[in-house]
Amino acid sequence: MEILVCIKQVPDAKDVRLDPETNTLAREGVQSIMNPYDRHALEEGVRIREQLGGQVTALSMGPPQAEEVLREAIACGADRGVLVSDRAFAGSDTWATSYTLAMAARTLGTFDLVLCGKQAIDGDTAQVGPGLACRLNMSYATCVQKTREVDKEAIVVERMMDDGYDVLRLPLPALLTVVKDINEPRVPSLKGKMKAKKARITTLSADDIGAVPEHIGLAGSPTQVVKVFTPKPRGDRMIFSGTAEEQVEQLLEQLEPYL
């Protein structure tokens, strides 16, 4: 089975601060990590390969230093890592990103299963997975919390919902975005680390994947980030605690003067 796992290198959320003067993310001294949801996607891919055989390819769109997370992916069980990197990708929103990843995936071959994390912890949009599935013409499910069965024809999964979960059967090829509940990722093994150290990471440019310039980077992005700011607190807040009855009592007390 040919499995593709899309991973992103992101700043470590707990270290991120807003630079108060420019109102942009202060990136100096901030560690870069593999997006946590993608780590779970990778683990699931490796488990499925262990079950059915095949190959796990880790793919990332990013600057040259994103090679680090691809090596980490190999240490965690991926068979190979591919980086698609080009200055022309700068400023990409999720539309341009899913285009770029789809072109890269097609360049690499055909895949039976594509796995992504639910969302990246820096963008938080959760759009790239579904976007990629549509571009690759694959059935997809998001927020997958468990893989029940998988074979060459189809995959049966549990999709997390607010009030429980749905059980879905997707014919292959399919794409899944996963949540953290799906598995406990393994610690990278010594042999994995050694393999990662020696591995050659393939790098693909915009030309290598046949990307059309109008569809990539800033030019290919219908949405743009205009401003990032910390919202000012909107005044005093109160938190009510106790039983539902007690909280309603307290709320009514507060609302009384306004009724």
Binding site: P188, L190, K197
Partner: protein, 383 residues
């Protein structure tokens, strides 16, 4: 301090630390309270290839030596000495095979050990033979194509959890020091069973049981090395395993120091964080200095041993006695720095203090270590 580790040694440190951070630290308090063996954590350690660190490459291992084991054990001990002891005891259990086993025996056992599929344990101690190992009474008698073992081993780490046991038994009781041999007994061998699990002061995530051999029948090829070389192999085994125990002391003391300094910076009394007071600073300074001295001695001893010198007993015993006495002192001081909070189970340091005590007792009490050092000094100056 920089110890100039190679890239591969650094990988071992990172891998072991990641297990400690992700798997051991979140579970250690519960395992301690419930006296529960850390099966799933040992499986994580196996998956990370750490069981194979010291196994030669031809048997599927990493080909590392004493120093590599020391590095891994130090990081695991920062999490929990009980878990780290279980790992160390498996290494101890298989060392006799590595040191004295035939190539057929190595071929049979080492690959599974390297993968962490099977764990080992070392069976020497008996009720009447602790420090005086020569006082063992377990016997092994030839019977056709078999050896028949009878006796009881006491306080065996990994007892009941391991699959492969190296048992020291008397093959020729009248021959004294040449009278013992080592045998591999496997879980499931006829006549081999386990006693109750001990309820210990510390290292409670490690399983300690009696091993009971009642007409335990094993094939002839289970003898490790030549008949009568048992005690020699035991001594060689302990020489290379003692730095591992020392390194448990280093990792444990590091964890205790980390807790103490972090707390002293946060705890405000008399209007200041208590780390501003000299009494606390001096305690922390002494803890940190002795810890670093122990670490340097352990690393030095391990590297010395990996160079296969003629003499290693003195250096091996020195690092064990120094690092474990240090760990007892540092963990006790850590409880003191945390004061009332340090005494409460909610905080990790009381467990660290309870865990430290055994380090001064097992793998040769610190009194025996001093005997060894004294005797070696005597020999050295006679040459």
């Amino acid at each position: 301090m920089d110890y100039f580790l190679t890239e591969e040694q650094q990988m071992i440190v990172e891998t072991a630390w990641e297990i400690t951070r992700e798997k051991i630290i979140p579970q250690r308090a519960e395992l301690d309270e419930k006296n529960e063996f850390a099966t799933s954590i040992l499986e994580d350690i196996a998956r990370a290839d750490l069981f194979g660190i010291f196994i030669p490459e031809e048997y599927g291992g990493f080909g590392g030596g004493c120093f590599e084991i020391v590095l891994a054990l130090e990081q695991l001990a920062r999490g929990c000495v009980g878990v780290a002891t279980s790992f160390a005891a498996s290494a101890l259990g298989i060392f006799p095979v590595l040191i004295a086993g035939s190539s057929e025996m190595k071929e049979k056992y080492l690959p599974d050990i390297a993968e962490g599929k099977r764990w080992a344990a070392f069976g020497l101690t008996e009720a009447n033979a602790g420090s005086d190992a020569s006082g063992i009474q377990t016997t092994a008698v030839e019977d056709g194509d078999f050896w028949v073992l009878n006796g009881t081993k006491q306080w065996i780490t990994n007892g009941g959890e391991a699959h492969v046991y190296t048992i020291v038994a008397l093959t020729d009781p009248q021959k004294g020091a040449r009278g013992a041999s080592i045998f591999v007994v496997e879980d499931g061998d006829p006549g081999f069973s386990y006693g109750k699990k001990e309820d210990k002061m510390g290292i409670r995530s490690s399983a300690t049981r009696e091993l009971i051999l009642r007409d335990c029948r094993i094939p002839k090829d289970r003898m490790v090395g030549r008949r009568g070389t048992g005690f020699i192999t035991v001594m060689k085994t302990l020489d290379i395993s003692r730095p591992g125990i020392a390194s448990l002391g280093v990792g444990l003391a590091q964890a205790a120091l980390d807790e103490a300094v972090t707390y002293a910076k946060q705890r405000v009394q008399f209007g200041k964080p208590i780390i501003s007071f000299q009494a606390i600073q001096h305690m922390l300074a002494d803890m940190a200095t002795e810890l670093e001295a122990a670490r340097a001695l352990v690393y030095g001893a391990a590297r010395h041993i990996d160079a296969h010198p003629k003499q290693m007993s003195k250096v091996s015993s020195m690092c064990k006695v120094f690092a474990t006495d240090m760990a007892m002192k540092v963990t006790t001081d850590a409880v003191q720095v945390l004061g009332g909070y340090g005494y409460m189970k909610e905080y990790p340091v009381e467990k660290m203090m309870r865990d430290a005590k055994i380090l001064q007792i097992y793998e040769g009490t610190n009194q025996i270590q001093r005997n060894v050092i004294g005797q070696e000094l005597n020999k050295e100056y006679s040459r």
